[in-house]
Amino acid sequence: MSEQDDVAARIKQQIADNPVILYMKGTPQMPMCGFSMRTVEVLKQCEQEFAFVNIIADPSIRETLPKVSDWPTFPQLYIEGELVGGCDITMELAESGELKKMIDAAASKAA
Protein backbone atom coordinates (compact mmCIF):
# COMPACT_ATOMS: atom_id res chain seq x y z
CA MET A 1 0.00 0.00 0.00
CA SER A 2 1.39 3.42 -0.89
CA GLU A 3 1.82 6.03 1.78
CA GLN A 4 -1.12 7.99 0.42
CA ASP A 5 -3.41 4.92 0.55
CA ASP A 6 -2.29 4.49 4.11
CA VAL A 7 -3.25 8.07 5.01
CA ALA A 8 -6.57 7.72 3.16
CA ALA A 9 -7.34 4.57 5.17
CA ARG A 10 -6.52 6.41 8.39
CA ILE A 11 -8.83 9.29 7.45
CA LYS A 12 -11.70 6.93 6.59
CA GLN A 13 -11.25 5.21 9.94
CA GLN A 14 -11.37 8.55 11.78
CA ILE A 15 -14.53 9.55 9.97
CA ALA A 16 -16.13 6.17 10.68
CA ASP A 17 -15.10 6.16 14.35
CA ASN A 18 -16.33 9.63 15.26
CA PRO A 19 -19.99 10.67 14.97
CA VAL A 20 -18.87 14.31 14.61
CA ILE A 21 -15.38 15.16 13.40
CA LEU A 22 -13.92 18.43 12.17
CA TYR A 23 -10.78 18.72 10.07
CA MET A 24 -9.53 22.20 10.82
CA LYS A 25 -6.59 24.55 10.90
CA GLY A 26 -5.41 24.75 14.50
CA THR A 27 -7.38 23.48 17.49
CA PRO A 28 -10.77 24.41 18.96
CA GLN A 29 -8.86 26.27 21.69
CA MET A 30 -6.64 28.06 19.15
CA PRO A 31 -7.99 28.09 15.60
CA MET A 32 -5.47 29.22 12.98
CA CYS A 33 -7.99 30.41 10.43
CA GLY A 34 -11.16 32.48 10.60
CA PHE A 35 -13.18 29.85 8.75
CA SER A 36 -12.11 27.13 11.19
CA MET A 37 -12.74 29.46 14.13
CA ARG A 38 -16.26 30.24 13.06
CA THR A 39 -17.07 26.58 12.44
CA VAL A 40 -15.80 25.62 15.90
CA GLU A 41 -17.91 28.37 17.47
CA VAL A 42 -21.17 27.04 16.06
CA LEU A 43 -20.20 23.43 16.87
CA LYS A 44 -19.58 24.40 20.50
CA GLN A 45 -23.02 26.01 20.60
CA CYS A 46 -24.49 22.59 19.84
CA GLU A 47 -23.18 21.42 23.24
CA GLN A 48 -22.11 17.95 22.15
CA GLU A 49 -18.61 16.55 22.04
CA PHE A 50 -16.88 16.54 18.69
CA ALA A 51 -13.56 15.18 17.50
CA PHE A 52 -11.09 17.31 15.58
CA VAL A 53 -7.93 16.90 13.56
CA ASN A 54 -5.49 19.80 13.26
CA ILE A 55 -4.36 19.59 9.65
CA ILE A 56 -1.55 22.08 10.19
CA ALA A 57 0.00 19.57 12.60
CA ASP A 58 -0.60 16.70 10.17
CA PRO A 59 0.41 17.73 6.63
CA SER A 60 -0.20 14.25 5.23
CA ILE A 61 -3.89 14.51 6.08
CA ARG A 62 -3.99 18.04 4.73
CA GLU A 63 -2.68 16.81 1.42
CA THR A 64 -4.73 13.62 1.17
CA LEU A 65 -8.17 14.51 2.56
CA PRO A 66 -9.19 16.88 -0.29
CA LYS A 67 -8.59 14.01 -2.74
CA VAL A 68 -10.52 11.51 -0.62
CA SER A 69 -13.46 13.85 -0.06
CA ASP A 70 -13.46 15.68 -3.40
CA TRP A 71 -13.52 18.90 -1.37
CA PRO A 72 -10.62 21.30 -1.82
CA THR A 73 -10.77 23.51 1.28
CA PHE A 74 -10.72 23.40 5.07
CA PRO A 75 -12.42 23.17 7.45
CA GLN A 76 -14.38 20.01 6.60
CA LEU A 77 -17.13 18.80 8.92
CA TYR A 78 -18.30 15.17 8.94
CA ILE A 79 -21.38 13.94 10.76
CA GLU A 80 -22.15 10.20 10.86
CA GLY A 81 -19.61 9.50 8.16
CA GLU A 82 -20.89 12.07 5.67
CA LEU A 83 -19.29 15.31 4.56
CA VAL A 84 -21.58 18.10 5.72
CA GLY A 85 -19.47 20.86 4.19
CA GLY A 86 -17.14 23.70 5.08
CA CYS A 87 -17.62 26.89 7.05
CA ASP A 88 -20.34 28.46 4.91
CA ILE A 89 -22.59 25.39 4.83
CA THR A 90 -22.10 24.76 8.56
CA MET A 91 -23.06 28.37 9.27
CA GLU A 92 -26.19 28.12 7.17
CA LEU A 93 -27.21 24.89 8.90
CA ALA A 94 -26.54 26.49 12.29
CA GLU A 95 -28.69 29.50 11.40
CA SER A 96 -31.62 27.32 10.43
CA GLY A 97 -31.27 25.11 13.54
CA GLU A 98 -30.58 22.06 11.40
CA LEU A 99 -27.01 21.62 12.64
CA LYS A 100 -27.99 21.01 16.26
CA LYS A 101 -30.58 18.45 15.16
CA MET A 102 -28.02 16.57 13.10
CA ILE A 103 -25.44 16.62 15.89
CA ASP A 104 -27.93 15.63 18.58
CA ALA A 105 -29.08 12.74 16.40
CA ALA A 106 -25.51 11.59 15.81
CA ALA A 107 -24.68 11.83 19.52
CA SER A 108 -27.75 9.88 20.61
CA LYS A 109 -27.01 7.06 18.17
CA ALA A 110 -23.42 6.89 19.37
CA ALA A 111 -24.42 6.85 23.07
Binding site: M32, R38, F74
Partner: protein, 108 residues
Protein backbone atom coordinates in the same frame (compact mmCIF):
# COMPACT_ATOMS: atom_id res chain seq x y z
CA UNK B 1 -6.88 38.79 -17.07
CA UNK B 2 -7.27 39.06 -13.29
CA UNK B 3 -8.32 35.98 -11.33
CA UNK B 4 -11.49 37.78 -10.25
CA UNK B 5 -12.43 38.40 -13.87
CA UNK B 6 -11.63 34.79 -14.81
CA UNK B 7 -13.83 33.48 -11.97
CA UNK B 8 -16.59 35.82 -13.03
CA UNK B 9 -16.46 34.70 -16.66
CA UNK B 10 -16.38 30.97 -15.84
CA UNK B 11 -19.41 31.22 -13.55
CA UNK B 12 -21.42 33.40 -15.92
CA UNK B 13 -20.80 30.93 -18.73
CA UNK B 14 -21.61 27.83 -16.68
CA UNK B 15 -24.36 28.88 -14.26
CA UNK B 16 -26.21 31.74 -15.96
CA UNK B 17 -26.56 33.43 -12.57
CA UNK B 18 -29.27 35.97 -11.83
CA UNK B 19 -26.79 37.54 -9.46
CA UNK B 20 -23.05 37.06 -9.16
CA UNK B 21 -20.69 38.88 -6.83
CA UNK B 22 -16.99 38.04 -6.94
CA UNK B 23 -15.53 39.81 -3.94
CA UNK B 24 -11.77 39.88 -3.45
CA UNK B 25 -11.20 39.83 0.33
CA UNK B 26 -7.46 39.23 0.12
CA UNK B 27 -6.70 42.56 1.75
CA UNK B 28 -8.23 41.20 4.99
CA UNK B 29 -5.53 38.54 5.13
CA UNK B 30 -1.83 38.31 5.62
CA UNK B 31 -0.89 38.25 1.94
CA UNK B 32 0.88 40.72 -0.38
CA UNK B 33 -1.19 43.36 -2.25
CA UNK B 34 -2.76 41.97 -5.42
CA UNK B 35 -2.45 38.37 -4.21
CA UNK B 36 -6.04 37.49 -5.25
CA UNK B 37 -5.97 34.71 -2.66
CA UNK B 38 -9.23 35.07 -0.71
CA UNK B 39 -12.56 35.42 -2.45
CA UNK B 40 -16.19 35.45 -1.47
CA UNK B 41 -18.75 34.50 -4.09
CA UNK B 42 -22.44 35.19 -4.00
CA UNK B 43 -24.22 33.18 -6.66
CA UNK B 44 -27.95 33.14 -7.27
CA UNK B 45 -28.96 30.72 -9.98
CA UNK B 46 -31.76 28.40 -11.07
CA UNK B 47 -29.27 25.56 -11.50
CA UNK B 48 -29.12 25.15 -7.68
CA UNK B 49 -32.78 24.17 -7.54
CA UNK B 50 -33.15 20.77 -5.84
CA UNK B 51 -29.41 20.46 -5.10
CA UNK B 52 -27.92 20.11 -1.63
CA UNK B 53 -25.47 22.72 -0.39
CA UNK B 54 -22.63 20.21 -0.71
CA UNK B 55 -23.61 19.53 -4.32
CA UNK B 56 -23.73 23.24 -5.11
CA UNK B 57 -20.34 23.90 -3.57
CA UNK B 58 -18.85 20.87 -5.33
CA UNK B 59 -20.16 22.22 -8.61
CA UNK B 60 -18.42 25.56 -8.10
CA UNK B 61 -15.25 24.01 -6.67
CA UNK B 62 -15.11 21.86 -9.80
CA UNK B 63 -15.56 24.79 -12.15
CA UNK B 64 -12.83 26.70 -10.33
CA UNK B 65 -10.45 23.77 -9.76
CA UNK B 66 -7.67 25.46 -11.70
CA UNK B 67 -7.96 28.66 -9.66
CA UNK B 68 -8.13 26.71 -6.37
CA UNK B 69 -4.96 24.89 -7.34
CA UNK B 70 -3.35 28.26 -8.10
CA UNK B 71 -3.53 31.59 -6.28
CA UNK B 72 -6.93 31.07 -4.66
CA UNK B 73 -6.56 29.76 -1.09
CA UNK B 74 -9.97 30.56 0.33
CA UNK B 75 -13.36 30.60 -1.27
CA UNK B 76 -16.40 31.67 0.70
CA UNK B 77 -19.47 30.37 -1.10
CA UNK B 78 -23.00 31.64 -0.76
CA UNK B 79 -25.18 29.75 -3.21
CA UNK B 80 -28.89 30.32 -3.48
CA UNK B 81 -31.81 29.66 -5.73
CA UNK B 82 -33.79 32.79 -6.63
CA UNK B 83 -36.51 31.84 -4.11
CA UNK B 84 -34.01 31.29 -1.27
CA UNK B 85 -32.30 34.55 -2.10
CA UNK B 86 -35.58 36.46 -1.87
CA UNK B 87 -36.50 34.64 1.37
CA UNK B 88 -33.27 35.67 3.09
CA UNK B 89 -33.79 39.32 2.16
CA UNK B 90 -30.86 39.29 -0.27
CA UNK B 91 -28.40 39.37 2.62
CA UNK B 92 -24.99 37.70 2.76
CA UNK B 93 -23.14 37.10 6.05
CA UNK B 94 -19.72 38.71 6.52
CA UNK B 95 -16.61 36.57 6.12
CA UNK B 96 -14.65 35.69 9.26
CA UNK B 97 -11.49 37.59 10.22
CA UNK B 98 -8.10 36.12 9.36
CA UNK B 99 -6.34 34.06 12.05
CA UNK B 100 -2.95 33.96 10.39
CA UNK B 101 -3.05 30.32 9.23
CA UNK B 102 -2.50 31.11 5.57
CA UNK B 103 0.69 33.08 6.19
CA UNK B 104 3.04 30.14 6.23
CA UNK B 105 0.75 27.45 4.98
CA UNK B 106 -1.58 28.78 2.31
CA UNK B 107 -4.88 27.16 1.58
CA UNK B 108 -8.02 27.10 3.63
Amino acid sequence: MSTAQTIHDILVDSLSPLRLDVIDESHQHNVPPGAESHFKLVVVSDVFEGKSLVARHRMINGLLAEQLAGSVHALGLHTHTPDEWAARGEQVPASPPCRGGSKAEGGH
